[in-house]
C-alpha cells in the first residue's frame, strides 16, 4: 500500500512535468506546477507517516505551503497582470514533446540504476523519477522562449530535485532545508520583479525580444 501510494505520487509528479511541456495556457501551466508540488508534498507526508517522524511531517507542511500555496499564487498574479499574454506559442509540437519526454525518461532511468542499487527500497525507487523530472523540465526550459514558462521550467526542475532529496536522504538537516527553501522563495520573488520590469520595458514576456546583448 505504502509503496503503491509512493509510486502514484511520483508518477503524478512526472506526468505533470510532461504536461507542462506542451500546454499553451499559462494559467494551466501554473496549475500543473501546483499539482506537482502537491504530489511532492504527498511523498513527504507518506514518508513521515511511514517512519513515524514528526520532522518529515513538518517538511511536508512546508512543501505544501511553499510549492502549492505561495509560489503558484505569485505566478498566477504574474499571469493575471499580463492580460494579452495568457497563451504562449509552444516552440515544440505535442508529438515531439512527448517523444522527447519518453526518451529523456528512459535515459534518466538508465543513468540512475546505480543509485537505486546502492540501497533498493520503495523510497529510492523514486530517485529515477526525480531525475526524469529534472531532464524533462530542463528540456522545456531551453525549448520555450517565454519568461513565465522558463520560470515554471526552473521550478519544475527544482521540484524534481526536491523529490530526490526527500527519498534519498533520511535527513539532510533542517537548517539546510530551511536555507534552500528561503533561497528558492527569494529567487522566485526576484524573478517576479524581473518579469514585471520586463513587461514595462518590452510590453511582453516574450524572451525573443531580448536581443540587446550578443557577440
Amino acid at each position: 500500500m505504502y509503496s503503491q501510494l509512493l509510486g502514484v505520487a511520483g508518477g503524478v509528479a512526472l506526468v505533470a512535468a510532461v504536461l507542462a511541456l506542451w500546454r499553451r495556457s499559462l494559467l494551466a501551466i501554473v496549475r500543473i506546477l501546483a499539482l506537482q508540488g502537491f504530489a511532492i508534498a504527498t511523498v513527504a507526508l507518506l514518508l513521515g507517516i511511514h517512519h513515524h517522524e514528526v520532522a518529515e511531517l513538518i517538511v511536508a507542511a512546508g512543501v505544501l505551503v511553499l510549492k502549492v500555496g505561495v509560489i503558484p499564487a505569485v505566478l498566477t498574479r504574474v499571469v493575471r497582470d499580463t492580460p494579452n499574454q495568457r497563451d504562449t506559442e509552444p516552440s515544440i509540437n505535442t508529438a515531439t514533446a512527448l517523444v522527447a519526454a519518453a526518451v529523456l525518461t528512459v535515459i534518466a532511468f538508465g543513468a540512475t540504476r546505480g543509485l537505486v542499487d546502492l540501497a533498493p527500497s520503495p523510497e529510492t525507487e523514486l530517485i529515477p523519477v526525480g531525475f526524469a523530472i529534472v531532464l524533462v523540465a530542463f528540456f522545456g526550459l531551453v525549448a520555450r522562449r517565454n519568461a513565465l514558462t522558463q520560470l515554471v521550467g526552473f521550478l519544475l526542475l527544482e521540484n524534481g530535485i526536491a523529490l530526490v532529496a526527500l527519498v534519498a536522504t533520511a535527513r539532510v538537516s533542517l537548517v539546510v532545508e530551511l536555507g534552500a527553501a528561503l533561497d528558492l522563495l527569494l529567487a522566485v520573488l526576484v524573478l517576479q520583479v524581473l518579469t514585471s520590469r520586463m513587461r514595462s520595458k518590452f510590453g511582453a514576456l516574450d524572451l525573443d525580444r531580448l536581443t540587446e546583448l550578443s557577440d
Partner: protein
C-alpha cells in the same frame, strides 16, 4: 571570531537601511571592509600552521584554505567599496542612477559580501551551497542596477542560468549525502565536510560519479566554465563597475572554492582521474571560447568578462593537475586575478563615466588624456595577460611547471598556446584604446575624486605578490595542503 567575520560585512547594509545611501555611509563600508581584512589576517595567523578553527560545534569551520579565501574576499571588497564611493557619487550627480537605486546598491553589496564569507566558512556542504545560491539572489538586482533593456536582459539570463546551474549542484550535494548514509555499518547521512572526508574512501563509486558530474555542472556554471558560461559576459558587463569587480574578482573564485571542497571528497572516493578528465575538457573549452571571442571583441567590459572565463579555465587546469604545486599556483592565481581584474573593472567604470560608451572603438588616446586611469587600465591588462612583475606571471609559470612535471604536458602546452592568442587579441584592443589620436574631445575629462587610490593600491599589491610571495607563502602552502594531501 568566525561568526564575527560573517556578521561584520552586514553592518554597512544596516547603516544604509537607517540612513539611505550617502558618502559617509559609503566610507563606513570602506572601513568595514578594512575590518574584515584585519579579521581575515587574524584568522590566517591562527590557522596557518594547519589548525582548524570551529564555531558553534560544526556550523562554521576555518582552515588555511578558508582563511585564504576570506583574505581574497576582503581585499577585493576593500578596493571595490572604496571605488564605489566616488562611482555612485558621480552617477548620482550625472543622473545615471536614482537615490533609490543607490540605496538598493548599499543594501545588496554588503549582503553579497557576507554570503561569500559564509560560503567559505561553512563547515557543512549544504550551508555552503545555500550561501552560494544566496550570492546569485543578492547580485541579480545589482546586475540590473541601470534598469535599461540591456541590463534587464542580462539579469534575467543571469538568474535563470545561475539558478538552474546551482540547483544541479544541490542535487549533486544530496547524492553525496545519500552516499555517506550508505558508506558502511553505522554510517549516517551527513553533509559535514570533516565527517564526509572521513568516510570518503568507502563511498559508492557509481553514486559519486553521478554526483561529481552534477557538482561540476552546477558549480561550473557559477564559475563560468564553458559551456555553462553564457550568462557571464552579459552579467559582468552590465553590472556597475564595483559590482563587476566583486563578481569577476571573487565570486567566481568562491564558486571554485566550493568545487575544490567537493573535489577532495570525490577524489578520495574515485581516484583523481575521473574529475581530472572532466576538468581538463572544461578548462580547454573555456580557453577556446575566451580566445575566440576576445579576438573580435567590440566592448571593453565584455573583454574583461571573457578574460575572466580565460582565467577560470586556467584555474580549472591547475585543479585538474592537482599536485600540491599546482594547487598552490591555483591559489596564487586566484588572488592575483582578483587584484588585477578588480583594478581593470574599476578603471572600466571610470572610463565609462568619462567617455559615455563601452565600445572599444569609441575610446582612443586614453593614456595621453587621462594618464592615471589609462595607465592603471593598461598595467592591469598587462598583469592579466601574465606579464612580469605582476602576480599572474608567477602563478602561470608555476601552473605550467606543475603541468609538465605531472605528465600533463600536452594539455598544458595546448592551454598556453591558447593564452598566446588571448595575449595578442587583448594587446591589439588595448593599443587602440590607450594610444592613438582622440577623434573627439573627451566628454567630461574628469576622474571622480580619490578614484586613483584603490587603483594604485591594487597594482602595488599585485606587483608585490609577483615579486615576492613572502607575506602569504606559508598560508598558500598550508591551504594547498588542505586540497592536495
Amino acid at each position: 571570531m568566525l561568526l564575527a567575520l560573517v556578521l561584520v560585512p552586514v553592518l554597512p547594509a544596516l547603516a544604509t537601511a537607517a540612513f539611505g545611501w550617502r558618502p559617509s555611509v559609503a566610507w563606513f563600508a570602506v572601513a568595514d571592509a578594512a575590518c574584515l581584512l584585519a579579521g581575515g589576517i587574524w584568522l590566517a595567523v591562527d590557522v596557518v600552521d594547519g589548525d582548524t578553527a570551529y564555531f558553534g560545534g560544526h556550523i562554521l569551520r576555518a582552515d588555511a584554505l578558508s582563511a585564504f579565501m576570506v583574505l581574497v574576499i576582503a581585499v577585493v571588497a576593500l578596493l571595490a567599496s572604496w571605488s564605489s564611493v566616488g562611482y555612485l557619487r558621480s552617477e548620482l550627480a550625472d543622473g545615471h542612477t536614482t537615490p533609490g537605486a543607490a540605496r538598493l546598491f548599499g543594501l545588496l553589496v554588503p549582503a553579497f559580501i557576507a554570503s561569500m564569507v559564509l560560503a567559505v566558512l561553512a563547515a557543512n556542504l549544504g550551508i555552503m551551497w545555500v550561501a552560494i545560491e544566496a550570492t546569485t539572489i543578492a547580485t541579480t538586482f545589482l546586475v540590473g542596477h541601470h534598469r535599461n533593456r540591456a541590463s534587464l536582459e542580462a539579469s534575467w539570463k543571469y538568474v535563470i542560468v545561475g539558478s538552474v546551474g546551482i540547483v544541479l549542484a544541490f542535487l549533486g550535494t544530496v547524492l553525496l549525502s545519500y552516499a555517506t548514509q550508505h558508506a558502511g555499518p553505522g554510517a549516517h547521512s551527513t553533509l559535514d565536510w570533516d565527517a564526509m572526508r572521513g568516510v570518503a574512501r568507502h563511498l559508492d563509486p557509481a553514486v559519486i560519479r553521478v554526483a561529481a558530474v552534477l557538482l561540476l555542472l552546477g558549480y561550473g556554471t557559477k564559475i563560468g566554465l564553458a559551456p555553462m558560461h553564457t550568462w557571464l559576459p552579459d552579467a559582468h558587463s552590465q553590472a556597475p563597475a564595483p559590482v563587476s569587480a566583486l563578481m569577476s574578482g571573487v565570486l567566481l573564485s568562491v564558486a571554485f572554492y566550493a568545487l575544490l571542497r567537493v573535489k577532495v571528497i570525490i577524489d578520495l572516493a574515485l581516484g583523481a582521474t575521473f574529475l581530472r578528465n572532466l576538468l581538463v575538457v572544461a578548462a580547454l573549452l573555456s580557453l577556446v571560447v575566451a580566445a575566440s571571442l576576445l579576438i573580435a571583441q567590440r566592448d571593453y567590459k565584455r573583454l574583461l568578462a571573457y578574460s575572466s572565463i580565460e582565467h577560470m579555465g586556467l584555474v580549472a587546469l591547475a585543479a585538474a593537475i592537482g599536485t600540491p604545486l599546482a594547487i598552490a599556483a591555483l591559489l596564487l592565481h586566484i588572488l592575483a586575478h582578483a587584484l588585477g581584474k578588480t583594478v581593470a573593472f574599476l578603471c572600466s567604470g571610470e572610463i565609462l563615466l568619462a567617455e559615455g560608451t563601452t565600445r572599444i572603438a569609441g575610446v582612443h588616446g586614453l593614456l595621453a588624456r587621462r594618464p592615471l586611469v589609462g595607465g592603471s587600465f593598461g598595467l592591469a591588462l598587462l598583469a592579466l595577460l601574465g606579464f612580469p612583475p605582476f602576480g599572474l606571471f608567477a602563478s602561470e609559470l608555476a601552473i605550467a611547471r606543475a603541468g609538465f612535471s605531472a605528465n600533463m604536458g600536452w594539455v598544458t602546452a595546448a592551454a598556453f598556446s591558447l593564452l598566446l592568442v588571448v595575449v595578442a587579441a587583448v594587446l591589439v584592443h588595448a593599443r587602440s584604446m590607450l594610444l592613438g589620436e582622440a577623434d573627439t574631445p573627451s566628454v567630461s575629462p574628469r576622474t571622480s575624486r580619490g578614484a586613483g587610490v584603490p587603483l594604485v593600491a591594487g597594482l602595488v599589491a599585485l606587483a608585490t605578490i609577483g615579486i615576492t610571495i613572502w607575506p602569504i607563502e606559508r598560508l598558500i602552502g598550508a591551504a594547498a595542503h588542505v586540497v592536495a594531501q
